[in-house]
Symmetry: C2
Subunit: 408 residues, 2 copies
């Protein structure tokens, strides 16, 4: 086993609201509710070293390690979670759960509706980021964790982080929202809606009742994913990654086939996505994101964070992220500062667009590591001291030059 | 008639290649070829005051005035073409023609294939921006214009402008490429391809052979347009225009209906587009844009413009245009400078994204007007002196303060 990996992991399941349904923001209720989750590392004796990591739109509870021992199934944040990594599993108890509405083991539209014995489909109630987080609160209660060391996540994961800080501030000491926003913008809503329209327009969608059909709304879902995929990159990263290179041909074919590398890449990724994601979940999870607006109900973001004054924040944005532009993070930082919150903010210079939060590994390792070290010290958390890379016999040390270049 | 309008206009038609087919870059040929075109103003005696205006992806030959006398049918660049406007029809002979491959009267996939007596559909050959421009050259020959005063256009219109300058430099004295690029970027190709995939995925598309069907691939075309529409705006302009406002409801409905204004706007515009545009033309015109790369065949943009040293250029980009980012225009300016071309460049500060070239009317009027005045003076073009606004009894004078603010 690589010393860098959290090693073999298994997905666990926690079911609640079996007797009394779980009330949702919409006024609807849901029950029973199952959450798929994974944990890495060991909870310390006073249960103070828990870190909740929240996933983005298409993520799962499998954030790190090798699922069922298969090294070909690394976690989605493998680069940052593991022994000696940013979220050091030698020191912290890291936890990730699949959001409700998704399709990786937590209750969602593909789950069986106990009322009918069939998959919910569109009978699944619309859930919000608030609902997702309140389900995570139940999981923490179940695990006996009163207060997390921190909650961290990027994109929709970052929205969950902000929801924790705003509405459950006593349950965590720190919050790390990355490449995110406190209120989903009209451009984000627009891209979400176009993705949903692509799914609605697929005749195989059948108003969401396709689970017993041979054909699934794969064409619509692939299209939605292709649109999304473009938005996660940047103009610059696409120039670097693809340029105008042709795929498998020497010159233009003057026909409507896949000709450019970038077309091929998008089609491949769109198709691959249909093998792992459920079209209805795409609708529900994007809708939850669209509803996300922590300015409400007062209209003041500072007021929303009034109860979070005891928290420490690390806010990170990326200069080339045009989907969640840096100014959203700056607005958040202003609001937090106005609410007297201890906040560290970094606008990381990167050409990778929104995806940077998963790709700028060295920078993220440095930023997250420093922040967590400070947190452990100031909050007097009982965790082992970090092992140096040399003691671990580990991989390439951090290159401080590149780090410095990357920090705007 | 408003003194600002070019007044009643009619679309005219010019047909060529009736005997000998028109050769295309692909090696295929096309014939007969019809170009729909409109003209505004009067050609002077030495035929030196002609300005060719080139339209973008979904535009037509109807650039100004009231089509068939109907004031509800203004031209697509109405704000900039007319008496006393930037392209002053009291002074210049302004001309616009619909590109081949499009669907506004010029030969395209919906036209009748003389070989079969049926619409071409996908039997229409793939055309390039180079082909579009060579068809325009034929129109100029037909009109007896040896040398234009200038060629101007934004977006795909700007690509045509660059094509004129690169490959027909003796036919124009000046070039005004706006919000464009000399080589379509991978991000542009990606958005094009996703739009095309939306059309392909529509079962009503029938491999392009839908012209005799009751149902057209409207869902796919609407989706393609919605995607495009987002890219023409900016994050900031969408915040200003829509914010997170709901449409016709007080609070979230917790259902998959159109709820946000921005969703409603996109759906409305997607639907509206299907009433005026042909899905196959969308495929052909976007493909032509994707193929556009003036760096080829040498790999050097400066080499491409080697023959354009006698031209005067006005290059304009917009700071919030993330689809055709300013750095593309800057690369173009560098290449032109290296090729010893007289070039004026302005990166206009605007929050309107790519659409700015149609929306920043005062700035555009100022920039285009000054450039054309200089051109008339330096090239000694015999045109009437401009009438002052007061002599015209015209509308609001230019606000120089706002102009200054808008110039980056």
């Amino acid at each position: 086993m690589s010393i860098d990996s959290a090693g073999t992991v298994v997905t666990q399941f926690f079911t609640f609201a079996e007797e009394e349904p779980f009330g949702l923001e919409s006024g609807e209720s849901l029950g029973p509710v199952t959450l798929a989750y994974e944990t890495y590392g060991t909870l310390n004796s006073d249960r103070s070293n828990g870190i909740l990591v929240c996933h983005a739109l298409s993520g799962s509870a499998h954030a790190a390690g090798w699922l069922d021992g298969d090294p070909d199934k690394p976690g989605w944040w493998e680069d940052c979670i593991g022994p000696g990594k940013a979220f050091d599993t030698d020191r912290f108890f890291v936890l990730c759960s699949n959001v409700i509405g998704s399709c990786y083991g937590s209750t969602g539209p593909a789950s069986i509706d106990p009322k009918t014995g069939k998959p919910y489909g569109l009978n699944f109630p619309v859930v919000t980021v608030g609902d997702m987080v309140r389900a995570q609160v139940r999981l923490l209660n179940h695990l006996g964790i009163d207060r997390l060391l921190c909650v961290a996540g990027g994109s929709m994961g970052g929205m969950q982080v902000l929801e924790w800080a705003a509405h459950h501030p006593t349950r965590t000491r720190a919050a790390i929202p990355i490449a995110t926003t406190a209120h989903h913008s009209p451009m984000l809503i627009a891209f979400s809606e176009v993705g949903r329209q692509a799914i609605y327009a697929d005749p195989a969608w059948h108003q969401g009742a396709y689970y017993d059909q041979t054909q699934k709304p794969d064409a619509g879902l692939a299209l939605a994913r292709m649109i999304g995929h473009i938005t996660y990159l940047s103009e610059e990263s696409m120039q670097l990654k693809f340029g105008r290179r042709l795929q498998g041909i020497e010159k233009y074919g003057y026909e409507f086939e896949t000709e450019f590398e970038v077309e091929s890449y998008l089609k491949y990724n769109g198709l691959k996505f249909t093998r792992r994601f459920d079209a209805n979940s795409y609708l529900y999870v994007t809708k939850a994101m669209d509803y996300f607006d922590l300015k409400q109900p007062t209209g003041s973001l500072a007021a929303t964070f009034a109860g979070a004054a005891d928290l420490k924040f690390l806010v990170i944005s990326f200069t080339s992220d045009w989907l969640y532009p840096s100014y959203h993070s700056k607005q958040l930082v202003s609001a937090l500062t106005a609410a007297n919150v201890d906040v560290t903010y970094l606008d990381v210079k990167s050409s990778w667009g929104h995806d940077a939060f998963l790709l700028e590994v060295e920078t993220m390792t440095h930023l997250l590591g420093s922040f967590l070290d400070r947190l452990v010290r100031e909050e007097q958390i009982a965790v082992p001291a970090p092992l140096g890379r040399s003691q671990r016999g580990g991989s390439t040390p951090l290159q401080s030059t590149r780090l410095a270049d990357n920090l705007a």
